[in-house]
Amino acid sequence: MPELDPHLQPPARLRLMTTLTAVSEAEFSTLRDLLSVSDSVMSKHIAALATLGYVKSRKGVRLGTRTTWVSLTGPGRAALTAHVAALRELIAFLD
């Protein structure tokens, strides 16, 4: 039975993780603008998810500026799948 993951309950994290499933890697400012959050909020979410091993980040360059690229890890993908499955099960139950 899938369980809700407490680390994916903040909506910004769920949005971040779900967005990363569509790409192999995304640049920090792209994610920040998409999710409409500040730099500090985005940094903290990424740092928290990286600590859990759900995402990995690396330094890179885009348009001549040093930036951070973020990608989903295998355990992160599995955690997200289980969390969304639990949410969908809950939705089905509520319906």
Binding site: L4, P6, T18, E25, L35, L87, R88, L90
Partner: protein, 251 residues
């Protein structure tokens, strides 16, 4: 050390908001590498009411942790899932391909097939150089276009490299192989117009296959974003090399 927490509503100033020089009190526990157990759906039981589930979620911080932005008005799991999927779909909808993307793919594949066919038919070192030049042109143009895509969108999609540029999909692999074989046969027969036609057909089919993949990706991004498996790419590459060797040996 104990901290006073005065917020009546769920806010997370220590993790979510920018503060001044005075440290704010923590509003949540530190994240441990091992997620704590949270209620599973089954734990609610079949006879539990909707109100009870939502109340339980609220009290176990599942709802209150849905902080940070103004667009989450309630702890409704439907809203959480829909919101996350909307963000993903918005990103994918906003992705743009660089200008002349498919045209350059078609042109470089056409050139690569024609040069490789002509090179193989020569059966000498100059022919090898000719075939190599075709590969270099294709790899160079492909690298430039992929880099433009990355700079333009701020994302990287591995499927774009494997399926669109490298042609690892079944259709693009098959059409490339047939076109390459036809162009090489025509080159051995000194039918240069046929070489050009076969190469052009191969280039156009290759680009069309890539365009088809891109449309599928935009509809189902989660299924399509990742690159082909290394095994499949190795199989396709092996078949391509074996086919080229057989063409040379056959003549």
């Amino acid at each position: 050390m104990s901290w006073a927490i005065g917020a009546a509503v769920a806010r997370f100033p220590d993790t979510e908001e920018v503060t001044g020089s005075i440290p704010v009190s923590p509003t949540r526990f530190e994240i441990s590498p091992r997620p704590s157990r949270t209620p599973s759906v089954a734990a609610f039981g079949v006879r539990t009411s909707r109100r009870f589930i939502l109340d339980t979620l609220e009290s176990s911080s599942i709802v209150s942790n849905m902080e940070n932005t103004n667009d989450m008005e309630s702890g409704d799991p439907r809203a959480a899932v829909a919101d996350a999927e909307a963000a993903r779909n918005r990103l994918v909808a906003e992705l743009e391909l660089p200008s002349f993307f498919y045209a350059t793919i078609a042109a470089t594949i056409t050139a690569q097939i024609a040069l490789a066919a002509a090179g193989i038919s020569r059966q000498d070192i100059q022919g090898v150089v000719l075939a190599f030049v075709g590969v270099v042109i294709f790899v160079g143009v492909g690298a430039v276009q992929l880099n433009r895509f990355r700079r333009l969108n701020g994302v990287w999609v591995a499927g774009l490299l494997s399926r669109v540029m490298a042609g690892a999909g079944a259709v693009s692999s098959a059409t490339y192989a047939v076109s390459f074989a036809a162009a090489t046969w025509a080159a051995f027969a000194q039918q240069w117009l046929l070489v050009a036609v076969a190469a052009a057909i191969g280039g156009i089919a290759f680009a069309a296959s890539g365009r088809h993949w891109w449309r599928g990706y935009r509809e189902h991004p989660t299924n399509q974003a990742r690159a082909e498996s290394g095994t499949w790419v190795a199989v396709v590459a092996s078949v391509a090399v074996a086919g080229a060797v057989l063409l040379v040996i056959g003549h």
